[in-house]
């Protein structure tokens, strides 16, 4: 019967993580408490840079502003199977090595255009499930980062209140709602 308390605490942990100032971070460790996967600060930065490449800051906030990388880590840590978690870590290593090999520098040291090219190549390759260009763990890693970044973005408070109109209590059903070109 303590289930509700547990859920509340979980919410608290996440809420806490989101407002935890980065200066309090222990050097080398991820900024949120994770139970099942070990992520160091460099890896967290990598996920952050990847998420930012997928959902970049434009005239509107990007992945880092919305801390979507922390959401990605939270989801992988709590919701993925052991196998997916292992593949996530293995795939992250493969990704890191591949980028180094191809670009002579880490993903974070690449400029925005290079980052986009690297991820686009993987993304396009996904459409062919039989392709062996990338190892399966790397694909799992990328799919999780992209999927949860987009999930986190489209269910964020920012997106649901500023980009689309989410009302907790619509109070009505309009069956013929016209679509304006720029949805706001």
């Amino acid at each position: 019967m303590n289930r509700r308390t547990v859920i509340k605490n979980l919410a608290l942990i996440i809420g806490g993580a989101a407002i935890l100032p980065s200066c309090m971070q222990e050097k080398g460790k991820a900024s949120i408490g994770l139970k099942n996967i070990n992520i160091d600060a460099d890896q967290e930065k990598l996920i952050g840079d990847m998420a930012e490449t997928i959902i970049p800051k434009t005239t509107t906030p990007g992945a880092k502003d919305l801390q979507l990388h922390l959401f990605v880590l939270k989801m992988v840590d709590d919701c993925c199977t052991k196998k997916d978690q292992q593949d996530f870590i293995t795939g992250m290593g493969q990704f890191t090595d591949l980028v180094k090999k191809q670009n002579n520098r880490s993903f974070s040291d690449c400029d925005a255009k290079q980052r986009e090219e690297i991820l686009l190549a993987i993304d396009k390759d996904r459409k062919d499930p039989k392709s062996t260009t990338y190892p399966p763990e790397l694909k799992t890693f990328y799919n999780l980062v992209k999927g949860q970044t987009v999930n986190g973005y489209t269910t964020s408070k920012y997106f649901m209140t500023k980009q689309v109109v989410y009302e907790l209590v619509p109070g009505r059903y309009n069956a013929f709602y016209p679509v304006k070109k720029q949805a706001v």
Binding site: M1, R3, R4, I7, L10, A11, I13, I14, N36, T53, I54, I55, P56, T58, T60, G62, K74, M75, D78, C79, C80, T81, K82, E116, L119, L120, D123, K124, K146, V150, N151, G152, Y153, T154, T155, S156, K157, F159, M160, Q163, V164, Y166, L168, V169, P170, G171, R172, Y173, N174, A175, F176, Y177, P178, V179, A183
Partner: protein, 559 residues
């Protein structure tokens, strides 16, 4: 009158238990409602009802911990973080599966009236006559005319919104104004009607969401968060409707944490004198006494109580003299349907989240048609625009992708079948005394499956869904048929069927146990056949009818 003596005992507080309590208390009976789980107070205890999607740590998803803790619930959609508290613990209340049976339970005040799908359809004469005509199982002891006034009675109080469509297969009721179809649904329903020359219809769902204010309840606010509990009381539940009515009489006592373990049967009077309960918090045993007992513990659990009662007289329990107690397990089989894309309408959308869809009533095996299976199925579905989270082919990442996420996707039209399951004697539940639940009580063993008739029907449900979607103009139509298992419909029925003969049925036409006339069973256990309509409205009507009869019989000293 001792402290533990009442006029009536109602076992269970879900849809039918709430109705029993309301009817009995309104007729002046001092009633105690015994609920095995915790209390959930209307509005106050709907802890997640006012949370925005981003306030759920996993956005409503499921964690590995939840999957581990709920080995049954994880099999389908009910396992999620938004209303986990409303589902019974699989670990505290295990059961045995000789054959797979997905049993999704709600053990708390209100039961599954808090999480139900709310679709509310009357049965027609063709449904009540089906067993007789097909020569299977036993004939229903009642016909549509017996239930029709009680359907009206239940609809008027519960508040069912719907359109009067004038279809003989799905009798119209006393409805509140219907919800509206969206622009695509309106158009495709016309195409369907034309293509099948009025032999098939797509109607707006008839749902227990009120569309005008009713009995201090606010009309539906189009949140589509019903299963979190509604702060507006806009859908029918025990908490929003029957419980306040029963409490207002001053005749109701509710006792949560009360697991009824048996009916106390008096062999001299051949009646029940009360029930024995186990306090779920203290493990203490108590007895409650009354002139009449209503069993509404949910299908299978009411039967479980009977199996544990009067075993000194009938080894297989009260109501087992016919040999039918625990038999004829039914459900509606689903997870079969199709979906496709509707072109155009890009400038049209909808606003608000309608907690309802469309319904295509049964059209098979009617008016002389004979398929290679008997009975039929209906479909439920909706047209909607794909969300922002869809994958956008051309733009995979970056600023353009981010902008594209804000634009609505294409229109999708999807529907799934709800098929009738026949009552088979060999589809049964029994007591498994080798396995105990958290309270040391024996559990149920399920030995039931879909058979040839259902499996043949599923082939047609899939084929017809695809054909109809194409007739309605859908493109890229994909059909699916998965998990042909019982339970997933969450429409459990049977195991204490009604009938005309005590030798072949457990209950008579008034839902009375043949072997104990002051015990009434009015949850899904009483069903003699399953039809293909969602069953809860029928439980409401039959409970009100039985309660009316019980009070009359008490007055006449017949029971």
């Amino acid at each position: 009158m001792s402290a533990n003596t009442y006029d009536a005992i109602v076992v269970g507080s879900g849809i039918s238990g709430g109705w029993a309590a309301k009817e009995l208390t309104e007729k002046g009976l001092k009633t105690i409602m015994l609920e095995r789980g915790r209390n959930i107070e209307h509005v106050k205890d709907y802890v997640n009802a006012n949370k925005a999607p981003w306030e759920f740590p996993h956005r409503g998803g499921r964690t590995q911990k939840m999957i581990e803790d709920y080995p049954v619930l994880k099999r389908d959609y009910p396992l999620n973080e938004t209303n986990l508290d409303y589902w019974a613990s699989d670990k505290d209340s295990p059961y045995t599966e000789i054959k797979r049976f997905d049993w999704f339970r709600g053990y708390h005040v209100g039961g599954r009236s808090l999480m139900w799908g709310r679709q509310s359809y009357r049965w027609a004469d063709v449904d009540f006559e089906a067993n007789l005509k097909d020569g299977i199982a036993v004939d229903w002891p009642i016909r549509y005319a017996d239930v029709a006034p009680w359907y009206s009675y239940a609809e008027k109080f519960a508040g069912i919104s719907g359109n009067r469509d004038g279809l003989p297969i799905l009798p119209d009721g006393d409805f509140m104004p219907p919800m509206e179809m969206n622009v695509v649904e309106k158009d495709v329903s016309k195409r369907l009607k034309e293509y099948y020359k009025e032999a098939r219809h797509m109607i707006i769902g008839r749902t227990a969401n009120i569309t005008v204010p009713h009995n201090n309840r606010t009309n539906c606010q189009y949140r589509n968060k019903c299963w979190l509990g509604c702060p507006f009381g806009a859908y029918f539940s025990t908490q929003s409707a029957t419980l306040p009515a029963a409490m207002a009489t001053g005749n109701l006592t509710v006792r949560p944490w009360s697991i009824v373990t048996k009916i106390l049967y008096d062999k001299d009077t051949k009646k029940a004198k009360g029930v024995e309960i186990l306090d779920a918090e203290t493990n203490q045993t108590y007895e409650y006494f009354a002139k009449v007992v209503f069993l509404n513990a949910s299908t299978f659990n009411s039967t479980w109580i009977m199996m544990n009662s009067a075993t000194d007289i009938w080894p297989d329990g009260l109501g087992s003299s016919s040999g039918e107690l625990g038999h004829n397990v039914m459900d509606h089989h689903l997870n079969v349907g199709a979906s496709g894309r509707i072109e155009g309408y890009e400038d049209k959308y909808y606003f608000g989240r309608r907690a309802n869809g469309f319904y295509i009533p049964r059209y098979r095996n009617l008016n002389g048609e004979k398929r290679d299976y008997i009975r039929g199925f209906g479909y439920q579905g909706a047209a909607s625009r794909e969300g922002w989270s869809r994958d956008i082919a051309e733009m995979n990442i970056g600023g353009g992708f981010k902008d594209a996420l804000t634009e609505p996707g294409s229109w999708q039209l999807g529907m799934g079948g709800f098929g009738e399951t026949l009552p088979y004697h060999e589809n049964k539940i029994t007591l498994d005394k080798t396995k105990k639940d958290k309270w040391g009580l024996p559990v149920l063993a399920f030995d039931a499956e879909l058979k040839e008739n259902e499996l043949k029907m599923r082939i047609e449900i899939e084929k017809d869904a695809k054909e109809m979607l194409e007739a309605m103009g859908a493109k890229d139509v994909k059909s699916h048929s998965d998990n042909p298992f019982l339970g997933r419909g969450i429409h459990e029925m049977g195991t204490a069927r009604m009938g005309r003969d005590p030798k072949t049925s457990v209950l008579n036409k008034w839902n009375q146990v043949w072997d104990a006339k002051n015990v009434f069973v009015t949850d899904g256990s009483f069903m003699t056949s399953a039809a293909c309509q969602n069953p809860s409205l029928t439980y409401m009507a039959m409970t009100a009818r039985a309660a009316n009869y019980a009070v009359d019989a008490l007055k006449k000293k017949e029971i």
